[in-house]
Subunit: 445 residues, 2 copies
């Protein structure tokens, strides 16, 4: 039996037929998984204490199978642990994990133009150039959140000391709050003018060939503004000459006015000028996971800015998304769909991905809190059951990343080039908080 088979098959063998018994839909399920399973997995296997940063290519049982450092995932893990330190508890070990990545990012993450690379070798040597603005966006959010956490520590939060500290390289203290804040805002400033041409010289589309707007841009625009605002406050925006409320509003309206087609009851991933739908694969592309993710961001924005109309629209569009995106035969949400039902371009279109389901669960937990409707509760329960029955790994913990359409792990990875310590822990934390409030309100037993 070849190594390939041994790994491939160990995964297929491992699956017990769906447990049938998902853990209860309760805040406890989510917080226990976060603090006793998922965070420990990444704390145990992902930390590169030698040179800083994180290993994200991890097998089912946590072995590192590639030591390259992908900026998206480095930044997302820095954000995650900084956020935990700021909003959950000032645990020294969390700040310490954030320091490992923040120091690595500041030291190696940018090219001579101050654009962020896509990937680096373990030691920080650049591998893949900054070919669009997303590395920059995740770096901005990571460093803004880290700056907030570091400020709490500098103003007397618990010190990340003790043996772990030396292990993390006592000689290498974490970057200061000021240092991180400065690079975060400098990067944010540099992103703004590049948003209309996010790939710069790497753009393969011939100008005028077929203009299409990607939802990813307004989506990360909302996300970035809200994350930086929460971490650094409104005053940070004076340094970058934008008004956070205007920025959030403009991006939310771009999604709701251009990408959301209320007549078709679909949220389109790419649209032509004025929200038209070119009749081609790109123009018909649906991405249910992305839709769920942007819709909860819009709910949170609506909540913060007192725009109930955004919340009403987003919670309804969320139902359209899952009613169409749900696989009636095998359960779970498709990764990609064609709005007309033609064969999707991507071969992995009918696979079931961890992040799609993590984002969908949180989106419905939020929607249920805002609407109290049985429809949202029903879908929350349905997504909860499917996800815990199929993604959770009973043997080694954490969640499988990629399932076949039928719901079996298609490979054993717990982390890779795209799966890191981000979507699942963020969803577990945010969902746990929503469910806690729903339990207190007595609408969830």
């Amino acid at each position: 039996m070849t190594p390939h088979d041994s790994v491939q098959d160990s995964v297929h063998d491992s699956r017990v037929p769906p447990a049938g018994e998902a853990p209860p839909l309760a805040s406890r399920t989510y917080t226990d998984a976060l603090f006793h399973d998922v965070l420990p997995f990444w704390e145990q296997y992902s930390l590169d204490r030698e040179v800083g940063g994180y290993f994200t290519c991890l097998t089912r049982d946590g072995r590192v199978f590639d030591t390259d450092k992908f900026i998206w995932l480095q930044a997302r893990q820095v954000w995650m642990f900084s956020f935990l330190y700021r909003v959950v508890a000032q645990r020294p070990e969390w700040l310490q994990v954030a320091q490992l990545g923040a120091g690595f990012l500041l030291k190696h993450g940018r090219d001579e133009n101050k654009d962020w690379y896509f990937s680096l070798r373990r030691n920080g040597r650049p591998l893949v150039a900054a070919y669009n603005i997303f590395s920059d966006c995740f770096a901005t959010m990571a460093l803004a959140e880290y700056a907030a956490a570091a400020a709490m520590y500098e103003h007397g939060g618990a010190a990340p000391a003790g043996p772990g500290r030396e292990a993390a390289g006592g000689a290498r203290p974490g970057p200061s709050s000021e240092q991180a804040r400065e690079v975060a805002l400098e990067t944010y400033r540099r992103i703004l003018p590049r948003r209309e041409n996010p790939k710069g010289r790497f753009t393969k589309q011939v100008s005028g060939g077929r203009p299409l707007h990607a939802m990813a841009l307004p989506m990360i625009g909302v996300n970035m503004a809200m994350v930086v605002q929460a971490a650094l406050g409104n005053e940070a925006f004076s340094d970058i000459d934008i008004d956070p409320e205007q920025e959030i509003t403009a991006n939310v309206e771009r999604v709701l006015d251009l990408h959301l087609d209320r007549a078709a009851r679909r949220l389109f991933e790419r649209v032509g000028p004025n929200g038209t739908h070119p009749d081609c694969m790109d123009g018909r592309l649906l991405n249910p996971g992305h839709a769920c993710e942007v819709l909860w961001m819009i709910m949170e924005a609506g909540d913060q800015l007192g725009r109930r109309d955004w919340i009403d629209t987003a919670t309804e569009a969320l139902l359209w998304t899952v009613e169409h995106g749900w696989d009636r035969r095998y359960g779970g949400l498709y990764y990609y769909q064609d709005a007309q039902g033609f064969p999707p371009e991507k071969l992995e279109a009918d696979m079931k991905l961890w992040w799609v389901h993590a984002e969908a669960i949180y989106a419905f937990a939020a929607a249920y809190e805002y609407t109290g409707s049985e429809e949202h509760k029903h879908w929350l329960e349905r997504l909860h059951s499917y996800s815990w029955e199929h993604f959770a790994d009973p043997e080694y913990g954490e969640w499988f990343g990629y399932l076949t359409r039928e719901g079996l792990p298609s490979n054993g990875l717990k982390g890779g080039k795209w799966k890191g310590c981000f979507h699942l822990p963020r969803a577990l934390l945010k969902t746990g908080a929503r469910l806690q409030r729903l339990e207190k309100a007595g609408v969830l037993s």
Copy 2:
């Protein structure tokens, strides 16, 4: 039931449990499928008689679901029908199909620098820029083969007249042999200096980050030299200042000396300088279909240049490839593998693709003719049975392109952005010819 489900499910529903009964392993099976099923499918559904070129995005039953024109596939179909006209029979309708595409390519295919685009809109307006040299390579082979076919016609081959002719636009006669030859050789000349940096300004790899050689380059180098030589003869090479034998030899040796690791018994898709294997996902990547395809090209080159040593090495490496690449659990060859058995980067790694199996069948038909060994015959039979049982569509003809690991169609497309009229008909034609000789020799009943 949504359109998506209806399409997705119609495919899943359609599959009968593997027929168990594949048609006999006989030349007749391959030539019948080519002339009575596959070519008619493309002749009926892919021809854009209005503006020229071909539709390649075709549903299971031949409906066009995207009208964009992808240069790789436009060129490959021009090559296929020109080759049929030159080597099989001077059927006017075949030359007519080739003319439709050759005229479209010459009119719309190149940018102002004479580099070939990646894709165009139906009417020829450019969509995606020439971001590497492969469009150029397929255009070279297409126009060289078309030039040979057109020359036969110009020197008295059967005229592509009759109603079909008007339908194809009687007003638009096909490009002349001379015109096509000139652009083919001009393109070939322009490719040579670009081979060490095939993506030019679109290269995302930071120089010096991790130098890796891709097997695709020497592979297409052998292919291009042999196709142009067969179509236009040695004299064509004086126009581009290379010697065809040296060109073929240099590229074959690059594959056998750098990419083939005889100790590991693996053909690596990417290698470091001197054939080293960087311990990362890219450095461990295996692509069994690509390996089978380059190995039959090396067998044909060895046959033509009298290098029995190439044939012996290629036929043995072919066995290593399928012994490791075969899915012992569900049958079929994997699309991608990691040489160490770690999770492959690509989500579609364990899917079963039509072209992988078409190329493998022909590679083993060739290998069996060269070696007469039972091992090669056994694998030829095994690949034949799996492929006809799983890829052939009993209801609408042609082959499904993409199967799940378990062997079920994962979507119904017969053509798309990457599947056109090329791998399957080429393999059917070449395999039919090999099997005919094996039958005459009495080693295949």
